[in-house]
């Protein structure tokens, strides 16, 4: 390696201690499969996504499902408007995003609230349990308060077992009572990204 390259591959000798916080769940969790089954049972057809690692398996399951259409977005607020149109045309949908995308949705949510459109949002949290990236913390910390400030009902799951129950509850509330619902899936469920591992070469 030339001398000049060494700087690029510099790794700090000591990273902050992890205090025993579980950083990565190794066993495959069952919640994405259960949530996919719940969405299918509820007749969800349009799946609007801005990807997040925590949603990766659920997105794959929806992509494989011929009764669902996955619509990739450029920004999360597009999904709020898309699913309003879907409901006008008689279809149900779900919006999958990361907590950082919640801030992008706020004014567009006035559409769901003013028209009383059902809206189901599943949000994987960053800036939450064991976060490493400082940039993720402000929006992650504000996610629930910001949703509630504009009038979205928020459910939260902090274990994989809780996720299907909260999603089931949110589906019922959203589509039976015509309002926006968000399920926050805590970072403890999907596991914090382990930046230590990512700095190591294969």
């Amino acid at each position: 390696m030339p001398d000049g390259m060494k700087l690029l591959y510099y790794r700090p000798r000591s990273l902050p201690p992890d205090h025993g916080i579980q950083m990565k769940i190794t066993a495959e969790s069952a919640w994405p499969d259960e949530v996919h089954a719940l969405l299918k049972e509820a007749g969800i057809r349009q799946v609007a996504i801005v990807p997040d690692a925590g949603h990766a398996r659920l997105i794959k399951l929806c992509e494989k499902d011929k009764s669902m259409r996955v619509v990739r977005l450029t920004t999360e607020e597009e999904g709020v408007a898309l699913l309003a149109g879907a409901w006008l045309g008689g279809e149900k949908g779900v919006l999958l995003m990361q907590s950082s995308g919640v801030g992008n949705c706020i004014n567009m949510l006035s559409l769901s609230l003013a028209c009383q459109f059902p809206l189901l949002m599943l949000v994987t949290m960053r800036g939450d349990h064991g976060e490493f990236n400082p940039a993720q913390v402000p929006m992650g910390n504000a996610t629930q308060a910001v949703f509630e400030a504009i009038g979205v009902i928020v459910k939260r799951a902090d274990t994989g077992e809780e996720v299907p129950e909260m999603v089931s509850s949110a589906i019922r509330l959203a589509f039976n009572t015509y309002r926006p619902l968000a399920v926050l899936i805590g970072q403890r469920v999907s596991g914090a990204k382990d930046f230590r591992k990512l700095t190591e070469s294969e």
Binding site: M108, L111, Q116
Partner: protein, 197 residues
């Protein structure tokens, strides 16, 4: 008097004999324009949610693939949701048509200039995103061709229609958005739309 097209005449022409075509209008003047052409159960005029008109059109077009969806919006509203052009081009909805009435100004807030008066070509952006049709229109014959493409051609279509920046009396649609939503759904899905969950 300006030789530019006039917005209410363009909209009236596009909505003439509309059949079961569904119409979404962006907030402000486009919502007044479609209402001036005649309030209609299959109109969805927006009162807010700036930047969302084209995506409402996409969700509707995907849900009702056998019916045409026409989105009529303004240059300022379209500029706020430019990413949707990429999202829509990838989905390729054959029944979605987007018409931007471009007066190069934010007409509702004091006629401040928008980017389109400074060289930004929205139809060029739609073309680069991959729209099947993307048109720049500034003449009466262009509007007639646009109407016939919407009636008989496949989408996705994007048209940027240059219009005069007239200030016109407002023609307001109903303001209760739940009423607009429910009458739209009943018109599309039948009375059971209010009972099905």
């Amino acid at each position: 008097m300006s030789k530019l097209l006039r917005r209410r005449e363009v909209v009236l022409q596009l909505l003439e004999d509309r059949g079961d075509m569904m119409v979404v209008a962006g907030l402000g003047a486009p919502a007044w324009d479609i209402t001036a052409a005649g309030d209609h159960d299959l109109n969805f005029p927006m009162w807010g949610a700036m930047g969302g008109a084209t995506m409402i059109g996409l969700g509707l077009a995907l849900a009702q693939p056998k019916k045409k969806v026409l989105v009529i919006t303004g240059d300022g509203e379209m500029l706020m949701g430019l990413g949707s052009l990429a999202t829509i081009a990838v989905q390729k909805p054959r029944n979605l048509y987007i018409v931007v009435l471009d007066n190069e100004h934010y007409g509702e807030t004091g006629m401040q200039e928008t980017h389109t008066g400074h060289g930004v070509n929205l139809a060029g952006m739609a073309k680069a995103a991959g729209f099947l049709h993307s048109l720049n229109i500034a003449t009466q014959s262009g509007v007639a061709r646009l109407k016939s493409t919407i009636r008989s051609g496949a989408g996705p279509l994007f048209a940027q229609v240059k219009i005069d920046a007239q200030k016109l009396p407002l023609v307001l649609p109903p303001r209760d958005a739940t009423y607009i939503k429910n009458r739209f759904r009943i018109a599309v899905l039948g009375p059971e739309a209010l009972h099905d969950a």
